[in-house]
């Protein structure tokens, strides 16, 4: 009957509108805090005091950004967030490179060169992915002190490599398990050895898993706060710790615009990674969490 056809069509149309409306509502909800940060960061403090959260700025100013980067007071220095940003870079790059390479080698062995005890090792490592890091903080602080690495960036690199290994190994192992053993066995019969097989068979297909691992590790280490706050002070702190110090200083007048500019600067590298390589980011997220 035509009437019910039209009615059904109308109802379906209304349903579609409702779905898109809800999806838009959630999009706004997720974007709003970042939008608020962005507009606050380009307002003057006077405008912030008289205006409200979502009012667009009348007089755009980039002074808060300049101050956050170059001369805001953090701790006892007035040099802005710049130095801490560089600290984080100097921490993230070696820590990601080392933990990824070791993870690739481990994953290769645990999937293609298993030996007695390798499964136990893997299970123990898996469990290590989940421990709350509070349970290693005190011994680690003591060990870094004994090694003379306390409050150094190198010490933080070491910590991130050690506790990132479990994840990187897990990623590579789960990826390499899916590569057929026959390929490896055939290469062995042809006389290829351990390194040659890795180089000629595994590495050429490993690009996605390298991407996933590098992105995962970069995000984790850049965003880490716990290790940074526990194992560094003053000029060796990573950016997350510096940002917290900036935001939570009780002295003087609160400069929200500078806080917001600093927060956006701190978020920029990981956001960039996310927007450039989002596909791998999401894959790592679900792989790291679900496959556990």
């Amino acid at each position: 009957m035509p009437e019910t056809g039209i009615l059904a069509g109308l109802r379906e149309h209304a349903g579609r509108v409702a779905i898109y409306g809800l999806l838009m509502f959630f999009a706004i909800y997720f974007l709003a805090p970042f939008f608020v940060m962005l507009i606050t960061s380009v307002k003057t403090m006077e405008e912030i005091r008289v205006g409200h959260l979502i009012a667009l700025p009348h007089d755009w100013t980039f002074e808060p950004w300049r101050k956050a980067w170059g001369y805001a007071t953090i701790g006892v220095t007035n040099a802005g967030i710049k130095g801490y940003f560089l600290n984080s870079l100097r921490m993230v790059i070696p820590a990601v490179a080392i933990s990824t390479l070791i993870g690739a080698a481990n994953g290769y062995v645990l999937s293609k060169w298993r030996f007695r005890g390798s499964d136990t090792f893997f299970a123990m490592l898996l469990l290590g992915c989940f421990i709350p890091f509070q349970v290693v903080l005190l011994p680690m602080a003591r060990t870094l002190g004994i090694l003379g690495l306390a409050e150094s960036i190198f010490g933080l690199v070491l910590v991130h490599v050690v506790y990132g290994l479990a994840f990187t190994t897990l990623f590579f192992r789960n990826f390499y398990v899916a590569i057929p053993d026959e390929l490896v066995n055939a290469a062995r019969i042809d006389g290829a050895g351990f390194f040659r097989i890795f180089w000629k068979i595994m590495l050429p297909v490993s690009k996605p898993i390298f991407m996933v691992t590098i992105i995962w590790q970069t995000t984790q280490i850049w965003n880490d706060f716990l290790f940074g706050v526990a194992f560094s002070t003053g000029s060796t702190q990573p950016i997350t710790v510096a940002l917290n110090n900036l935001v939570n200083t009780s002295s003087a007048v609160k400069e929200y615009n500078v806080d917001m500019a600093a927060a956006i600067i701190a978020a920029m590298p990981t956001l960039l990674v996310y927007f450039v390589a989002g596909k791998y980011f999401v894959r790592g997220l679900t792989a790291g969490a679900v496959k556990g």
Binding site: I19, Y20, F30, L31, P33, F34, M37, T40, I48, H52, L53, I102, A105, N106, V109, W113, F115, S118, F121, M124, L126, L127, G128, F130, I131, P132, Q134, V135, V136, L137, L138, P139, R142, Y163, L165, A166, T169, F194, N223, F225, L226, L243, N244, V247, Y256, D259, M260, A262, A263, A266, A267, T270, L271, V273, Y274, G278, V282, T286, A289, G292
Partner: protein, 297 residues
Amino acid sequence: MHRPSRFMTYLETALPKAVVAPSMAAMVVFIYGFIIWTAWISMSKSTFLPTYDWAGLIQYVKLFNNERWWVACRNLLVFGGLFISFCIVFGLFLAILLDQRIRLEGALRTIYLYPLALSFVVTGTAWKWILNPGLGIERLVREMGFAEFTFDWLVNSEMSIYCVVIAGVWQSTGFVMALFLAGLRGIDDAIIKAAQVDGASLPRIYWKIIIPSLRPVFFSAVIILTHIAIKSFDLVVVLTRGGPGYASDLPATFMYAFAFTRGRLGLGAASAMMMFFMVMAIIVPYLYSELRRKRHA
């Protein structure tokens, strides 16, 4: 002829072990050794400096008599319960909406997931500004004409833990959505088509067929979110600093305060061990069931 080949077989078996040996050593020392070390500190009289004379369970007795610890645990229940529930409800809802052959799905997904790329410190900074009484949401709503509106949760010791929930849910909902979306995409369309032919309405199909079949995803999501909740630290530090007073403390901030700022290593170590036990109580059965399922599959 025999010698080189025997040497080669030796190399073949030794080389893989040599490659993983350093990681294995690191794991044994830095994970398992350190856990035992922490356990040891927790059973000593350590205060400012670690001492290793045996004190039995004194630190645990002190911990259980510490009111602040119970506030932290109660907050963990409140925060964890709400954080997990909201993330799951919103995450599932969003995943179902996105699974309706939506144009722009890619763009929307990118928007829903970007908070995950942010550090909790950044998220905390943003929400600290939005929720601040005076210039934040309170001012906004007052300007909209509700002059009496007050919103002081951030500085209200009864309510500050709920601010942590708000920011935490904002950050982690997208992740749960991604999990559910992957689950939904794995469901066979034929089942849905068959139900539609039988005259079942769409909401009914979701409620009776699709959502129950996502049970493993629910399971994973709850485990992962519980794990995040127990480890939550940065968000509280930035947003409320555990305050007012210690009203929004969580076990992780309690541990840090006692072990690192108040110089009570023994008590801090005992609280760290309690966190460890909480996580293990959830993770060990989960990993066990996951591994068993994989073996059967």
